[in-house]
Amino acid sequence: MSTATTTAMAYQDRRGILGTLGRDGLLQIILIANTIIMLAPIVIMVFSAFKTTPQIFQSPFGIPDFTQVSNFVKIWTQTNFLRYLLNSFVVTGASMALILTLGTMAAYAIGRYAFTGSNFILMFFLAGLTLPLKLAIIPLFMLMRDLSILNNQLSLIFVYTAMGLPTTVFIMTGFIRTLPNELEDAARMDGASEARIMWSIMLPLVRPAMVIAGIQNVVPIWNDFFFPLVFIQNDDLKTLPQGLTTFMGEYTTDWGVLFSGLTLSAAPIILIYIVLSRQFIAGMTSGAVK
């Protein structure tokens, strides 16, 4: 009797486990485990940034004393770190300004006016979408040398602008095409110039597409390492990811400083991501989600 009951119960349990609750439980466990794996390295990095090197070796997982900021002071006073950070801001900012300005211009022309060759021009931009530009690094290097902008941040700004334009034109043309004609036609009847129509009537409407295109480009540009590696040698001109390699090479044994450097490098983008996660996810996957 008792055996029969347990069997029946076990059977019920098994159905329960296989049922909705159990299945969702399994999925929930997978998600929780994955989130721990995703966050643990970042938490360990931040914790270690506040520890001395011996503390890191003795208790790598321990919670540190967050008032102990000697590692950060060392980075602030003894390294070129702030310079790298500033350079990254300059290069990324200038590239983004150019990408959004030029990208909007091209997309507006293609999306708003019917003219011969507009489809061909769109195809020309789209061709740049999938080409791995890393493989053209030798001619790019020679080109930058001929333009005398090797070891000059203009080389980075120009390459990033060219790389960012295809996606920006693609996203913005699609968006601009969906805008209604009525406003534009009304303004034209009133005698407004084409430039005025674009600037005061249409541009305010394309801001959402600019945000998506902006985020899609700003993350890879901020994080890029390959082009500075080839174009920039002068330490004062290096961007953050490139400067990090110099920095990591200098302090190989001082792990507290190493983790602080990594934490400082990661902090700006992590903080912005936490605030704008929805836009980040939409922007960075926009090329792949249609």
């Binding site: 999925l27 040398r145 334009l165 084409e194 994080n223 390492f225 990090l244 980040f280 996957t285 792949a288």
Partner: protein
């Protein structure tokens, strides 16, 4: 009067379109076309010498030691691609399926899985290099703490484990990307279809294999193609974690590293060769273009319109 207006409009369009076109032409199209031309010449440093036809291609494919280097790097790229297919895209699909159910905390999990994606690859590379340190890295410290001293090893220092350790770091870095692309694909599946399926079958397996997987085919096409292109362009992680020579003993050498090393030289060899480098670039480029086209066409055929 109408004619004058037309020219005004034409000028306006020209003003809008020429500057962006010029950027793309000068910094993308021209360098890529030049890369093909460069490969047919002999180079000495930055100086272009004679036209040599296909000799550079012949050298990197058939002349030792280049032949072994090319084959070794190519073999490693293939391992990287298939490993990431499972660790990155496969896991991404499972995570997307779990997130799709909108269980409590799904929003938080979604933000967490994408967090590493926004980090610079260089930060990820150094972070994991420190984690894999034989004595003080958290990986070995954890293993010893669990009493698994036997498993603690110099992860990046031996040929057998170095490449796989770097692949694991890459999977951690990027698994959020396919996850959210698949998730977006699943969220586009119409509710009626799912309701109809629920009436037909209780089996989760049937639902996934017969309904969800075919309906997210467009997401799969994009994610697979991007992974393929990415795997054969792989550079930053092996450069930082394995070094420019693909240490130890070339076990982490990949085409991206090998190309860079051949073109710009390295500390030990010092020799830079733009001709051989360009030939490698052209071969990698053609290979990626050909296979990516095949993948896209084959997978597109599988996609169904809802």
């Amino acid at each position: 009067m109408p004619k004058l207006r037309m020219t005004g409009r034409g000028l306006w369009i020209t003003f809008l379109i020429v500057p962006p076109l010029a950027f793309v032409a000068l910094f993308i199209v021209y360098p890529i076309i030049s890369a093909f031309a460069y490969a047919f010449f002999d180079w000495q440093g930055l100086k272009r010498l004679d036209f040599v036809g296909l000799e550079n291609f012949h050298t990197v494919l058939f002349v030792e030691p280049y032949r072994s280097w090319t084959l070794n790097a190519f073999k490693n790229n293939i391992i990287v691609f298939f490993a990431l297919m499972v660790l990155q895209n496969g896991l991404g699909f499972i995570l997307a399926y779990a997130l799709w159910r909108e269980l409590p905390g799904a929003r938080f999990h979604r933000i967490a899985v994408f967090l590493p994606v926004v980090l610079s690859t260089i930060i990820v590379a150094y972070l994991f290099k420190l984690f894999y340190h034989p004595l003080f890295g958290v990986v070995n410290i954890s293993l010893r703490g669990l009493g698994l001293d036997g498993l603690a090893q110099p992860w990046l220092g031996q040929s057998g484990t170095a490449l796989w350790s770097i692949i694991a770091a890459q999977a951690w870095h990027m698994v959020g990307f396919p996850t959210l692309v698949f998730l977006a694909g699943m969220q586009r599946i119409p509710g009626e279809i799912l309701d109809a399926v629920r009436m037909e079958t209780e089996s989760e397996w049937v639902k996934i294999t017969q309904i969800v997987w075919p309906l997210v085919a467009p997401s799969a096409t994009i994610v697979f193609t991007l992974l393929f292109v990415g795997a054969f362009n792989w550079f930053e992680l092996p450069y930082i974690m394995g070094g420019l020579d693909g240490s130890p003993f070339g076990s982490t050498d990949v085409l991206g590293l090998y190309f860079y090393r051949t073109a710009f030289g390295n500390v030990s060899a010092g020799q830079q060769d733009f001709g051989l480098g360009s030939a490698l670039a052209v071969l990698i480029f053609l290979f990626i273009a050909a296979i990516a086209t095949v993948i896209t066409v084959r997978l597109r055929a599988r996609e169904i319109q809802i």
